[in-house]
Amino acid sequence: MDKARGSDPMKKSGSPRWRGFLPLVGLVLLVALPFAAQAFGQSALTSLATRMLILAIAASALNIALGLGGLVSFGHAAFYGVGAYAVGILTTHGASGMPFLGFVPGSEHLAVNLLVAMSVSGIVAGLIGALALRTSGVPFIMITLAFAQMLFFFFVALKAYGGDDGLSMRRRNALPGLNMRDDVTFYFTSLTILLAWLGVSARLFHSRFGLLLGGIRQSERRMQAIGVPTVRYRWLAFVLSGVGTGLAGGLMAVFGRFVSPDMMHWTQSGELLIMVVLGGAGTIFGPVLGAFALIGLETLLAGWTEHWQIILGPALVLMALTFRGGLARLGRSEQGP
């Protein structure tokens, strides 16, 4: 029976045709969500969904390192937090008019600040990656965790920018022509950025780089033997992943008008990992599903009992056992027994 589908163009191995429409259905639901929330008088739902969208960007960015590159980074909260602080610090200086370090002008422009957040996170990821990628496996997990903890304590000690109290911003960053104070506008801005990021991500997955990076995940030795400088490829994947995570951090800072070292806490790194694995590592939409599922579950349980974590833990274990390969691989015939 395996032979029968051997060399035929059955490569996409029996995924039912309707699966192709799922992203479209998801998009329609996401576009309708804020209007439905308003109609039912549940406008808090829009804020919750915005958080989900932003964390979906972070999870999707982590997925480049984790799902495609096989790099189990336990320190991605560092890039999330660095992106957030880049925006927070720029915004503070933009509001006060005093240049940062005496010569870098502040800014309250959303696009400018997000670009800076991405660049700074990319540089930090480049430095951490250059050191951490000398190892692999468990040492890599521990080293990325260690760097994230170092940054966490650095920002706890950084009293000029709030220390462990965090840093509040007076108003959200602006985009010309849009009223960012409006939660629905911000929701659609976040959705647009998520879609753009997913587009970039999908291109990456299906590019030459993605094909070779996926090969490195499967057998680094094989890829070295065909002449791929594997360390450079993994480093680039790590940096791109850091850039996207920083983008999400920066956007979250703008959304909440608040940054704190908690954004770099190791539990945040853990949550991002859970989102990716729960949703489906190595898939385009999996991390998005994972972000929505995890934040949704957390919110639901937290509204029900204050000991929600006691339920969340076993629920995650159960989901991991049920949806092997992640939510995004449900209904694919190649998966599961």
């Binding site: 299906h206 590019s207 030459r208 094909l211 070779l212 057998s219 094989r222 890829m223 065909i226 002449g227």
Partner: protein, 248 residues
């Protein structure tokens, strides 16, 4: 004889107290199949590792077409024409057979940045060409995890060929193959004769005698003999050190 394309000169490597490569000098002619035989633990795989640049030798030089490779990374050695296969196949299990070859084709090639190389018809045909040469015609879409062991060995060969090597370093291509598969592997390798030089590390003496132009015998990291098949079979040192004990 044609001038050697690969020259290994006075190569030595020590792992702690163990001398795994002991002053090895060896060359492979441009169209030659040079077999390297020797008992387990003689240092054959380590030698391949050093030629590829995976393992750094303590001393000695390796020349490819007269060019010193010593300071080059594995990636640049591959670009200059070295390729290898592994004793236990190192293949990309989640990919199809064609994508395994595609990876090798793409490793040293620029593509248009926004184009999915899996949708490039010309590339796919090129990859299928290498599958065909390795005897895997029509198996391009099969996930490698679903391929038989013998097919994976052949796939490694297709992948190595796709890097356009001058010299192929084959680490026991017959290992684990059944009689029919061995015959197929020998046939495929024979069809490559003259096109690419080969350093053939092998235990299967039928394959060695069927393919090799010259045979070198490696024992405890040392080349104790080098010559034609008859020379080696007649050599008393070899008989006592290797063939004698094994065939007794």
């Amino acid at each position: 004889m044609s001038p050697p394309v690969l020259q290994i000169e006075a190569l030595s490597k020590r792992f702690g107290g163990l001398l795994v490569t002991d002053d090895v000098t060896l060359d492979v002619g441009a169209a030659e199949i040079h077999a390297l035989i020797g008992p387990n633990g003689a240092g054959k795989s380590t030698l391949i590792g050093q030629v590829m640049g995976e393992i750094e030798p303590d001393s000695g030089t390796i020349l490819l077409e007269g060019q010193d490779l010593s300071r080059l990374s594995q990636a640049s050695r591959v670009r200059r024409g070295l390729a290898r296969t592994f004793q236990v196949p190192e293949v990309l299990g989640e990919y199809g057979a064609r994508d395994n070859v595609l990876a090798a084709l793409l490793a040293h090639r620029r593509t248009r940045p926004l184009v999915n190389p899996r949708h490039d018809r010309a590339l796919a045909e090129e990859a299928d060409g290498f599958l065909l040469r390795a005897g895997l015609a029509g198996r391009g879409d099969v996930r490698v995890a679903d391929l038989a062991h013998g097919e994976r060995k052949l796939l490694e060969l297709a992948v190595a060929l796709a890097t356009m090597p001058r010299v192929l370093l084959l680490d026991e291509p017959m290992a684990g193959l059944g009689p029919g598969e061995s015959a197929q592997m020998i046939e495929v390798l024979r069809s490559l004769r003259g096109e690419v030089a080969m350093l053939l590390v092998e235990h299967d003496m039928n394959a060695v005698f069927a393919l090799a132009d010259r045979i070198s015998v490696l024992v405890y990291g040392r080349v104790i003999a080098c010559g034609s098949a008859e020379d080696i079979q007649r050599d008393p040192v070899v008989r006592s050190a290797y063939l004698g004990t094994e065939e007794a």
